[in-house]
Symmetry: C2
Subunit: 429 residues, 2 copies
Amino acid sequence: MNQAMQALRTQTLLPGVKGLPLRAPLRQDEIAAQGYNVLDGRLSYPVAVLRQSTLDHNLAWMRDFAERAGTLLAPHGKTTMSPQLFQAQLDAGAWAITLATIPQLRVAHRFGVKRVVLANQPVAYADIESLAGLLHEDAEFQAWVLVDSVAGAARLNEVMTRVAPQRRLPVLLELGLDGGRTGARGVDAAFALARDIAAMPALALAGIEGYEGLWTGADRAADLVRVRALLEQMVALTRRCDAAGLFDGDEILISAGGSAYFDFVADAFAALDGLSRPLRRVLRSGCYLTSDHGLYHGLQQEMRTRHGAEFRHGLQPALELWAMVQSRPEPGLALLTLGKRDASYDIELPRPLQWHRPGTPAPRPLREARIAKMNDQHAYLELPPEHPLQVGDLVAVGISHPCTTFDKWPLMLLSDDGYRVVGAINTFF
Amino acid sequence: MNQAMQALRTQTLLPGVKGLPLRAPLRQDEIAAQGYNVLDGRLSYPVAVLRQSTLDHNLAWMRDFAERAGTLLAPHGKTTMSPQLFQAQLDAGAWAITLATIPQLRVAHRFGVKRVVLANQPVAYADIESLAGLLHEDAEFQAWVLVDSVAGAARLNEVMTRVAPQRRLPVLLELGLDGGRTGARGVDAAFALARDIAAMPALALAGIEGYEGLWTGADRAADLVRVRALLEQMVALTRRCDAAGLFDGDEILISAGGSAYFDFVADAFAALDGLSRPLRRVLRSGCYLTSDHGLYHGLQQEMRTRHGAEFRHGLQPALELWAMVQSRPEPGLALLTLGKRDASYDIELPRPLQWHRPGTPAPRPLREARIAKMNDQHAYLELPPEHPLQVGDLVAVGISHPCTTFDKWPLMLLSDDGYRVVGAINTFF
């Protein structure tokens, strides 16, 4: 365990950390010995709870999927930005950790991550210098970086030459679709960019990258057409660059894959063979680790429909938020201690899962209620007027889109299946 | 300066802090000496920038408003959760700091805030025990706490008796409207609750509270009807509780006021007189400190329309985010290094203000562009195809709703009017 990870284990948590009932400082590695249980009502609510067994299941399931599919995993770390979860992913066989920004990459490196994919083109000189500085100072550290414009590539080339002259930066050419996000548009433009990159001495064209996970709208058929089109173009571009001898290195890398369509990605990459050298296929899914009760749950159902048995015991939601009923001012309304500061609201509002009265045997389902609105620190739970929920009861909600819940919690609790708190993880946003 | 504030000043910032171009550790109080300037393109973008002169203006303007209106200010600290900004508010005459949750209150206390309003009813035993513990341990510390149910009041009474037997907790009875958030519904129900509170030996009924700032929807006339109704009921309830001798203490406290309607609140409170003892009128505005370029900017315009001269040089937007153009993959589209992890999106998306090419004399307006969408780490800027914006240029955006931008930045930069970085503030979410 590296020094920063060790320091995290033994760091002192002060009263004011969301979700812990602290009145005095507590060492983080003493959390498990406190006898906390989410259900006993003795914590400060809301709490964010990761179920350890479900995390373990998802880690193992995704490792197995990648193995079967002949891909490597470089899980997107921006989802959680948690060193302990990065480590769990690496321990479960991940080849690298993907990050979105240079500050994120610095955090990962500090906590011992030695192989990263930066799934963006860094453009600010300070960012490129920071990356090149790490490459210069740490011979063990490896980074693959996206490029989607000549202007961007030229910046990388200039800074690498100046700051890390002993190393060449492996870059992945990003391909995009019209109407998409970043990425050179279309195979012809991308191929022209590949030629430019190949001529830059501090860069090594290591492969081709795309991101298909953006298309998760209401028109599912149209989304799938775009996903397939991007993957087909990626394959065509890889063949064309290989035929032109533009790739540099012993292998060619191809990477795509969020958590929405990694099955399509794996299939498309599996069909790519006959290249001049070995192909390294890399999936970058991030949300797979916790999944959710909303968007990604629905996308998992779609994979089940597409594939059947293989996905029957697929990714499961590992993250719940537990809030307390603060007020029940009207028969059909309860206010929960849970708001925009605690739960995702960018895709849909959290959905009630269970309610529990501390001191009673077990939580009960709460399907007949819904969260109609959230303020910064409150959720408006609409429920049948006769529902017994009262001030001091607990309500568990599931979220939609893990990325925008993780960034609201500096510390999340780990629990066993009985909601006993067995540890904690930290995030760095 | 208390010890925690001092520690903050001299803390070591590590590479990975968003917005700082760090390749090595830096002491926070050395930021000003680095010669950073947002416009020179040498930072890591996005950065969040608070303009010092505008903060000072808003602090002074709000202090003057409160003085003229005969109210005290207990600014809502949940907006920024920044100890340095709390201190600036106290230095500008704020009577107390308002917080939303006990973890927030613990943070404020740690950084030396000795008088707080908790604008919620704490319900979890751990939270109440934490509060009572502070009151027990720190004789200088004063807290006013909301109550909106007998069940909640009983919890407060029980814990105070057990944990802080030498003190009584001053509580404010929260009044709410049907269809609103927390708060007893209507004067009769609230008055009944006041009687119950008055009978609880560890509690002192110190006053009446309401929150009118929720009603900021599209139907402005309907919103104002509700705001006025709540304020009228608060006044009526205060008179009734006073007449019944239910208030405890040398004064009566009445508090409302977000940043949308503090003019109405001040007017309603000013008209309340003839009580049995002095009235302490408390505004709790939070967003006034930075205002914004969206929701609160519009609400300020409305105040200007209502009042004219007094509001002509009123609250100004103090917060901008500066991002870099990462990609311009299509003529009408630029991708900015700014996403849901950086900017508010709960009310509306950020709006472009200016663009700047490092090395050129000054930023230029960017009114002809709009942000159409954000992902976690990207903004989609739609602009005229012929616009010269290119990779490496900077774009400044204004936000709507400060609360949901502050919570995305552990550190924000302070700048002078030329965007030179003169310091930084920290947030604790």
